[in-house]
């Protein structure tokens, strides 16, 4: 029985890791004032870069770094279009998602000669803990990141300034805070974390498969909203979503037939409920999605 529970919990964590990383990334981006619906595409690019990195450099750790880098680069495209060129954030994010599907497939064929999957790569070595056994170091890194994210956002001057840019950029600007720099940082951090999330997905399967992020970026967004735009909240929400999936898988292997589509819709249903204000209110940062400086209305 304890094994069964432990199994479910470990699986929950494994499922939740990409949600947690991308959702915490989303918190940074949106706290700074940039909507990041492109998490899905950033994750996908991160996954692909990590596979290519590992494949050519022969070291999964370097692959991880490549994934993070790929995520950052993708997010910076989003950042430049939203911040510098004041493109509507949703439009830019959707474009990033479509772009990522196309470009990863393109390079998949170019590098690995297949339109469906890459060659297999060396996975990361597990760290062994008593009782729970072997665990990917990425999980440990994730725990560390969540705590660090909370501290950075709420306990440091950087976090205060970042949040000010998402709430009232004009106020931040009037106090000499560089709003653009803050927003670029916020989006880049989200790119790094979503890229890491993608790398995790690839490492789990030891390869890249076409469109492998398969909606996880959107679940991460849902977790971010469900968690009220805070790292700890988003993590909690991601774990709840992960638990639901894990239970569904176990229940199904036991032969009870709950449609998986029903379980898959739970995160979104919960998010709609939260947004409609039924369980407490979840309000986004006041200036999220608004370009700065706004066009002057005289």
């Amino acid at each position: 029985m304890t094994d069964f529970v432990l199994n479910i919990l470990l699986q929950t964590v494994r499922i939740s890791v990409p949600y947690i990383l991308a959702a915490v990334g989303g918190v940074f981006s949106e706290s700074s004032g940039v909507i990041n619906i492109g998490l899905e595409g950033i994750m996908l690019n991160g996954a692909f870069c990590s596979v290519v990195g590992t494949y050519y450099l022969g070291n999964p750790w370097l692959g991880l770094i490549a994934g993070v880098t790929g995520g950052i680069i993708t997010s910076v495209i989003h950042a430049v279009s939203c911040i510098r060129y004041k493109v509507n954030h949703i439009v830019s994010g959707v474009a990033i998602n479509i772009f990522a599907v196309g470009i990863t497939k393109f390079f998949l064929i170019l590098v690995f000669g297949s339109s469906s999957n890459s060659a297999r790569i060396i996975p990361l070595k597990l760290i062994t803990f008593p009782v729970i056994g072997g665990i990917s170091p990425v999980i440990v890194i994730t725990v560390f990141i969540v705590v660090l994210a909370h501290v950075i956002l709420f306990k440091t001057p950087f976090g205060l300034r970042l949040r000010a840019c998402g709430e009232n950029p004009a106020a931040a600007d009037s106090l000499g805070i560089n709003v653009w720099l803050m927003r670029y940082s916020g989006v880049a951090i989200s790119g790094a974390l979503a890229g890491l999330a993608g790398a995790w997905l690839a490492m789990q399967q030891s390869q890249f498969t076409s469109n492998m992020s398969s909606g996880r970026g959107f679940i991460a967004l849902a977790a971010m909203i469900f968690g009220k735009w805070t790292p700890l909240g988003a993590t909690g929400a991601a774990l709840i979503f992960g638990l639901a999936e894990s239970i569904q898988i176990h229940v199904q292997t036991m032969g009870v037939n709950i449609p998986s589509q029903f379980i898959q819709s739970i995160p979104y249903l919960l998010t709609i409920i939260v947004l409609s204000g039924l369980i407490g209110r979840s309000e986004p940062p006041a200036a999220v999605g608004k370009p700065y400086p706004e066009e002057l209305s005289l």
Binding site: T156, L160, E167, N168, A171, A172, S174, L175, G176, A286
Partner: protein, 509 residues
């Protein structure tokens, strides 16, 4: 003291097509309260933005305590002890007051923000000048007066010795203004210099030591407040004598146009925004509603207009029951509404002047041919006529509304609503934030309508406006009508007291 605190020498600043500041010279002495007055668009704000480093002069020098300074950005200004309190508060509503104050200059302990040290310093400033500021509160929960104090503390926290206040009293109640002035005097006593931008001459006379008057981007003159008076200043400001004395004739009571019987209204949280309000409005009457912002005056107009649904009571327009009618119906029944916020509710800023003037009456004969075809020629003609009648600048019907100044935007709304020839006009803050020339036109128009036998309900936070225009005045306090008076029986101070519930009608008599 040998040096002036601030000296602006020959400052010139042009924007495409406009000279905002033309060879301006301004001297502010150490430790004085110096007012800068002028109409909207006279160049006051531009000049202060230059001094604070937000904009840059084309020509001229800024000299701070005898030293020439290049104000590249606000950082430079702050490092020279200059702080600016903007007209629109620059505060993050979800932060605590303390977080707002330390933002950008956080006390640190290692890599972390040391909020306790910040709180200590804020308390010290607060005690020293009598701000009484609740540093730990969430900013969004505080009243406007307190927000402004937070802004001033923010500036002092950065070590400012020279404070620029941009229209600080525009949003305050008379009581809050008094408290603000007390703080300003404290600051002055302790050696601070205050530059105070306003267009309210009464306040200049009350608080300032000296005053610089600006007109059309140039300095029209400098005076000691002890050696001048309001009428001289207003002549300097406008270039002619302003006629705001409205010369009302006593209204003769005629028919009742609008009647409210026991109207109540609850907001989303179930709090009573209107509590059993009854009133009557006669033809040829301006009924002023005085009250501190947020005591139900706007809800009253919105309930009559049909924007908010009443929970009980009846509203009659010329004997017909119009309770809970849609605004479109209210329009057809012969009402007009000048909303409080022209930019959000009065105009579509991206539309042209002509389109804005047709808003809400696009189906009228002069704006359309039948259902399918708009009458653009008619629209242009009609808007040209209104543009010249209200002297709207620029006079181009095709100009987008956002390109006009606030005063001209307001004139579009007023022109549209009055041109519909309503029998009842609901006017919410019709002259908010517009300069004295526009005020004059709007007053004239409202009084013309009154003379034609229209009924007008006037909600305003400017008591002088209520007193100048109204035939009767109702005072609202927390959703109830707590008093009735008339301009010849009361004064601003008394109205102010009634508005804050400090005296009731009974005590008054």
């Amino acid at each position: 003291m040998a040096f002036l605190a601030v000296e602006l020498r020959n400052i010139t600043k042009t924007f495409p097509g406009v000279i905002a500041n033309n060879n301006i010279n301004l001297g502010v002495k150490d430790g004085e309260i110096h007012a800068i007055v002028g109409e909207n668009g006279a160049g006051k704000s531009t000049l202060m933005n230059i001094l604070y480093g937000l904009e840059h002069q084309d020509k001229g020098n800024i000299v701070i305590r005898g030293k020439k300074v290049r104000m590249e950005n606000p950082h430079v200004a702050i490092s020279h002890g200059i702080g600016m309190v903007h007209q629109h508060f620059m505060l993050v509503r979800r932060f605590t007051v303390a977080e707002n104050i330390v933002l950008g200059r956080e006390p640190r302990r290692g890599p972390f923000t040391d909020i306790r040290k910040g709180l200590e310093k804020i308390r010290e400033i607060s005690d020293r000048y009598g701000f009484g500021i609740p540093a730990g509160e969430i900013t969004g929960n505080l009243p406007v007066g307190m927000l402004q104090r937070a802004e001033i503390v923010k500036v002092l926290y950065r070590g400012a010795k020279i404070l620029i206040l941009d229209e600080p009293t525009a949003v305050l109640t008379p009581q809050e203004v008094k408290e603000l002035f007390l703080i300003l005097r404290n600051l002055k006593e302790q050696g601070h210099t205050v530059i105070f931008i306003t267009h309210k001459l009464k306040e200049v006379m009350e608080i300032a030591d000296r005053v610089t008057v600006m007109r059309k981007g140039a300095v029209a003159g400098v005076r000691q407040t002890g050696e001048t008076d309001e009428s001289e200043l207003s002549r300097m400001m406008i270039g002619r004598t302003v006629y705001l004395e409205t010369g009302r004739k006593k209204a003769e009571k005629k028919e009742t146009l609008l009647e409210l019987r026991g109207v109540s209204l609850e907001d989303e949280k179930g709090v009573k925004a209107l509590d059993n309000v009854s009133l009557e409005l006669s033809s040829g009457e301006i009924l002023g509603i005085a009250g501190v912002e947020g005591n139900g005056q706007n809800d009253l107009l919105e309930a009559v207009w049909g924007l908010k649904k009443t929970s009980s009571g009846k509203i009659y327009l010329m004997g017909r029951d119009i309770t809970r009618l849609e605004p479109a119906r209210a329009r057809r029944e012969g009402m007009s509404y000048i909303p409080a916020d022209r930019q959000r509710h009065g105009l579509v800023l991206e539309y042209s002047v002509a389109f804005n003037m047709a808003l809400g009456r696009q189906a009228d004969r002069s704006f359309s041919h039948g259902i399918w075809k708009m009458n653009f020629t008619g629209m242009r003609e009609k808007s040209r006529q209104m543009i010249s009648e209200y002297n709207i600048v620029p006079g181009n019907p095709g100009a987008p509304a956002y390109s006009l100044s606030g005063g001209n935007q307001q004139k579009i709304v007023v022109a549209r609503e009055i041109d519909r020839n309503p029998s009842v006009l609901l006017a919410a803050h019709p002259t908010r934030g517009v300069d004295i020339g526009v005020v004059e036109i709007i007053y004239k128009k409202l009084l013309e309508e009154r003379a034609k036998g229209k009924g007008i309900i006037l909600v305003s936070s400017e008591l002088s406006e209520i007193l100048a225009l109204s035939d009767r005045i109702l005072v609202m306090f927390s959703g109830r009508i707590t008093g009735e008076t008339s301009p010849d029986k009361t004064c601003e101070e008394e109205l102010g007291m009634m508005m804050t519930g400090s005296i009731s009608m009974q005590e008054r008599q």
